[in-house]
Amino acid sequence: MTNSQNTPSAARQMQFGIFSVGDITTDPTTGRTPTDASRLRDVLTIAQHAEDVGLDVFAMGEHHNPPFFPSSPVAINSWLAAKTENLLLSTATTLITTNDPVRLAEDYAMLQHLADGRMDLMLGRGNTGPVYPWFGEDIRQGIPLALEKYALLRRLWREDYVDWSGQFRTPLEGFQSTPRPLDGVPPFVWHGSIRSPEIAEQAAYYGDGFFSNHIFWPGSHTAKMVGYYRQRFEHYGHGSADQAIVGLGGQVFMRKNSQDAVDEFRPYFDNAPVYGHGPSLEEFTEQTPLTVGSPQQVIDRTLGFRDYVGDYQRQLFLMDHAGLPLKTVLEQLDLLGGEVVPVLREEFAKNRPATVPDAPTHVNLKAAAAIQQAAESAESIDLAGVK
């Protein structure tokens, strides 16, 4: 029912998928802790299963400190590119602050070729203090680093030879980043931030996507950040506010009977990294977009996101954290792909204005670039005719 629709060329109004933080957490119900090797293997299995159940996107986090293992999402996504057919491989997030933009330009352009365009990336700053000095940077410069390094990254994909100098990197003279982007179309970029308006402003300035984590904070906060981004997107002349490219996170745990979901998820919630040992499952469910219950409850809650962020392009769910065993995660994906996402696709399509752009893919970015090029050459012909 769902799988046959999932072809790489299919235009999607909205993409649905999962994002993984890659935490190595002891399963609180068994006391078992995965090794780096077994967790990596599980994540690869989970990503491939996401494709099998008809999801559109898998996004991998980047971390350089335990209890997280994925130091190189680009390596993981390159492997997945070879093993999947349709899945769009993204990141959540790629650290723009502590990576060299030259390295990022090259690595992700390489991935773009390997994946035949089935990729994009989400940039984030990272909030682990010591990671900055470990990579020779200063966390107090987090925002300036994100601004300057991305400005360079963009140019490396768009200009064949780059002369550049800035505050945070060795100058470049006549540098060409290789390989050049596939079909001359730079990878699509999302900017992720929980609470920094500077990053929403940056995304709006370039007309890039803006992704709100939407897991750790209340929906009302996400609404304000997305609202600001949309307004600034329009201000910078990329289209009307409702044409800005918005992605949201989300967190769910499902069983057929909602009480079973609550009972099974509670020990994982109570011991989870970040919010564990804090608010109760009930408080967190009330105050954030977390939904623990039946597939229908997840459908209802998720459809409600549109009420406060408008029609949007990408919905990613966190499904594999806090020590949940592989078998459980795969069952969650079966429910998500089999029962939830088909309904979400259908319902989100209703009353969606035709002016709202489809989710960005290499195929539609390439088509848009071709149209723009045709328009530009038509214009120059007109000018020649007038003369």
């Binding site: 107090r140 410069q141 925002i143 300036p144 601004l147 300057e148 390094k149 400005a151 800035g166 505050q167 929980i194 308006p197 500077e198 929403a200 402003e201 940056q202 300035y205 370039y206 750790f216 904070w217 209340p218 906060h221 304000k224 600001y228 970040v274 919010y275 040992h277 804090g278 608010p279 408080e283 967190f284 105050q287």
Partner: protein
């Protein structure tokens, strides 16, 4: 009638970190508030007072430290303080300082949100030997936040509640007169404040901000 409609109004927030109910910390806080309201009235200013006992949001404060965001209940208290024209902050002394709840509460507020806020500090303890807590713990905390702390802090030891000060030498004024002095210092700052009428834009960017870089934070 006319004078009432033209009367200026200001908001005063009172925060008590007392842990018991009833608490002498709350009692001191209320007395400081009453006196401040009376002094404001003399200046022709009507004050709206909101009083919060931090014990009512103790779990919310801990959750905020762990999750990074306030519960709706805590957000209401924090928003009230940020938009106040004046703050009266009172804590019991625990282990030679403000108690942990008092510190945790101010830890979860954005550290730029209280800049310029007029504050009067108060503390309570079983013995007057802890009175330097006002100047060695509370004042530095509010100075760090760039709030404006009035020179007189009010310390109430248990014995102060049954004493009229040192009437022989006059060296130690009574608790009542110390409260009055702090209120006299706080009231004009509250009257002059326009914090409660300011529009706060959570998205305001630094003047030197540029989306493309060439921007440093000192």
């Amino acid at each position: 009638m006319d004078t009432e409609t033209t009367k200026q109004t200001r908001t005063l927030v009172v925060v008590s970190a007392g842990l018991s109910k009833p608490s002498s910390t709350r009692m001191l806080a209320d007395r400081m508030a009453e006196q401040t309201v009376a002094k404001l009235a003399k200046l022709g200013v009507e004050a709206t007072v909101s009083t919060f006992e931090l014990r009512d949001t103790a779990i919310d404060v801990t959750n905020n430290m762990l999750t990074g965001f306030p519960s709706p209940k805590l957000e209401e208290v924090v928003d009230a303080i940020i938009a106040a024209d004046g703050l009266i902050a009172v804590t019991p002394v625990f282990t030679s300082s403000y108690n942990g709840l008092f510190k945790s509460f101010f830890d979860v507020i954005d550290n730029k949100a209280l800049e310029g806020l007029p504050v009067a500090v108060g503390a309570t303890a079983g013995t007057p030997r802890h009175s330097l807590v006002l100047d060695h713990a509370m004042r530095p905390l509010f100075n760090y936040l760039h709030a404006v702390v009035v020179p007189t802090g009010v310390f109430a030891a248990s014995e102060d509640w049954g004493s009229s000060g040192d009437s022989h030498s006059g060296a130690v004024p009574s608790l009542h007169s110390r409260i009055e002095r702090a209120a006299t210092e706080l009231a004009p700052l509250v009257a002059a404040s326009n914090r409660s009428r300011e529009v706060r834009d959570p998205f305001v960017l630094d003047a030197s901000f540029s989306p493309t870089g060439h921007y440093t934070i000192d």
